[in-house]
């Protein structure tokens, strides 16, 4: 696991990508150790809010020493982030969590599934797998025709799209697209809303394939100390021995077989 620190980053750029979705690039040394599926905690400056906001890493640029975060405005904190401009300082805690174990994809038919605001972390995952020479299929699920990040995935993988409103690609979710296009997977790596992750867990069990899914929970510390962010596990967790793993440190990426969601 990477060594953690709270650091002051500096905004390199920010732009709106889609309705309420922003693309923020921050210069920070945390980039040195960040990997696909990990996240950072971003602290709002508004003193009425204290806790760091967990945001997944969408892209790592080690030369530039930058992290790219793509996030949706969900409340006070993300609203504040969306006002940041080039040169602004931003306090970040990172690098947090265990990301996707990319060695699992080696030589396997790997499919990446991203749904909604779960799409961003799949970009770094696709990029790193591509760098490692893996050929993967990416299926992205959107609400509507605002296909943020899709073009960028195309540099690294074959991309299929599902939209809830049917405006582009398969009408439905990522699994509907998977079925429609008869995509076969030996390994699935996924991030997205809970119903999607539940469906993937069921699908993987049915098809007996590996699935690594990234979970979300309310967090306080982000570093494994407060036990706020647990999920039920099938086996005894290493920390508390009560089948409750900490998403922030034992996850956020879990083997779908090992969690009860």
């Amino acid at each position: 696991m990477s060594r953690k620190a709270k650091v002051t980053g500096r905004v390199l750029s920010q732009r709106a990508m889609a309705e309420n979705i922003f693309d923020l690039k921050i210069r920070t040394d945390l980039a040195d150790e960040a990997g696909a599926g990990q996240f950072v905690g971003v602290y709002p400056k508004d003193k009425s809010t204290l806790l760091p906001r967990p945001i997944s890493i969408c892209e790592v640029n080690r030369e530039e020493k930058s992290l790219r975060l793509v996030y949706r405005i969900a409340g006070k904190g993300t609203k504040e982030f969306s006002s940041y401009q080039e040169g602004d300082e931003v306090e970040i805690l990172g690098v947090l969590g265990n990301g996707y174990d990319l060695t699992r994809a080696a030589g396997k038919r790997t499919v990446l599934l991203g749904g909604g605001i779960g799409i961003p972390p799949m970009l770094e995952t696709a990029r790193e797998l591509h760098e490692q020479g893996e050929k993967v299929t990416v299926i992205l699920g959107y609400r509507d025709a605002q296909l943020f990040l899709k073009d960028e995935f195309e540099a690294y993988a074959d991309v299929l799209v599902a939209t809830e409103d049917g405006s582009v690609g398969t009408k439905g979710n990522v699994l509907d697209a998977m079925r429609e296009h008869q995509v076969e997977a030996e390994v699935i790596m996924a991030c997205g809303p809970m119903p999607m992750l539940r469906a993937i867990k069921a699908y993987a069990e049915e098809k007996n394939c590996d699935a690594y899914i990234s979970l979300e929970e309310r967090m306080a510390c982000g570093v494994g100390a407060c036990l706020g962010c647990v999920c039920k596990t099938t086996k005894k967790d290493a920390h508390s021995h009560v089948n409750n793993a900490r998403i922030c440190t034992d996850g956020p990426v879990f083997d779908a077989r090992e969690v009860e969601i």
Binding site: R3, K4, A5, K6, Y43, K47, S48, T49, L50, L51, P52, L93, E217, R218, M219, A220, C221, G222, V223, G224, A225, C226, L227, G228, C229, V230, C231, H239, S240, H241, V242, N243, N244, T249
Partner: protein, 301 residues
């Protein structure tokens, strides 16, 4: 300059401790702070057997604070003794184990198992508002508090700190009951019971409905209770509740605390405990305070 304080015969190199449940057993934050710099590390509450804790969501943010309803998830005393105590022993800091339970017997079992362990003090959590099973009565009724304190005191090999609940009418009465029961010190405040409702979903923000409020929002209540408790008893008082800076820590000390603990604000600033230590030193230097003990309860009218 001497920052040492003595609590029930145990000498701390400085008065800064961690608040139970916000610092694990020190492992997680040892990536950020040098545990050797701290007066003591207070562990997450540990019970006789593993506890799974409450369903999620367990935490929610509030104005200048947070609610938690962890429900005392912990691996039980056996794993704790095997893993966490040896980890902490590597550091030059005092080890205070926070003990929780549902019945008096639960508490006594943990206290007994800790008897031969290399830990410096026990902090007895009779004030967790997030456990349904009734242990909270120990912290909210003076006679129950007296009773459990005396039973634990009779069994414990280490000094006993009773951790008081702020959810009471008269904190002085509770502090006196703990003292009468033989407590070597009291610590306060635990969290204040609170609630948050999501008005868009019309549901409770926490699955447990209520949770414990901590953070800067509660500091004025905590300082008041520390003042009242320290006026009421002769045993040392350990103060906590919303400490976010050395200045806050000094406020508690002036109010009567012999030591202080940093809690939820670790989540906001993982370096805070060490910064509080240096900040207290800087204050003592600025005002030429020779001994930290000169500051304890030194507020004037």
């Amino acid at each position: 300059m001497n920052t040492k304080v003595m609590i029930a015969g145990v000498e701390l190199k400085n008065p800064v401790m961690t608040a139970s449940g916000t610092f694990g057993s020190g492992m997680e934050y040892s990536e950020f702070v040098d545990l050797n710099r701290l007066g003591a590390v207070v562990t997450k509450g540990v019970a006789n057997v593993p506890w799974a804790g409450n369903p999620t969501p367990r935490v929610a943010e509030t104005y200048g604070g947070m609610l938690n309803a962890i429900g005392l998830q912990n691996p039980g005393i056996d794993v704790f003794l095997d893993r966490d105590v040896p980890f902490l022993q590597k550091y030059d800091t005092k080890i205070i184990v926070n003990v929780c339970g549902k019945t008096v017997e639960d508490y006594l079992e943990v206290v007994e198992k800790l008897g031969d362990a290399p830990v410096d003090m026990l902090e007895i959590n009779v004030s967790c508002p997030n456990v349904k099973e009734g242990a909270i009565a120990f912290g909210q009724k003076a006679d129950c508090l007296f009773d459990i304190t005396s039973k634990i005191r009779a069994k414990a090999k280490q000094p006993v700190i009773m951790k008081l609940s702020p959810n009471v009418t008269d904190i002085a009465e509770m502090a006196r009951a703990a003292q009468a029961g033989g407590a070597d010190a009291v610590s306060l405040i635990n969290t204040i019971t609170g609630m948050k409702i999501d008005i868009h979903r019309r549901t409770f923000a926490l699955k447990n409905k209520t949770g414990g409020l901590s953070g800067p929002a509660i500091k004025p209540v905590a300082v008041r209770m520390v003042y009242q408790a320290s006026q009421a008893v002769k045993i040392p008082v350990i103060g906590m509740g919303g400490i976010a800076s050395a200045e806050d820590a000094i406020e508690f000390i002036l109010a009567g605390a012999s030591a202080v603990a940093v809690g939820a604000m670790n989540f906001v600033n993982p370096y805070l405990t060490e910064e509080v230590v240096s900040g207290i030193e800087a204050y003592m230097k600025q005002y030429q305070v020779e001994n930290l003990t000169d500051l304890i309860g030194a507020v004037r009218e």
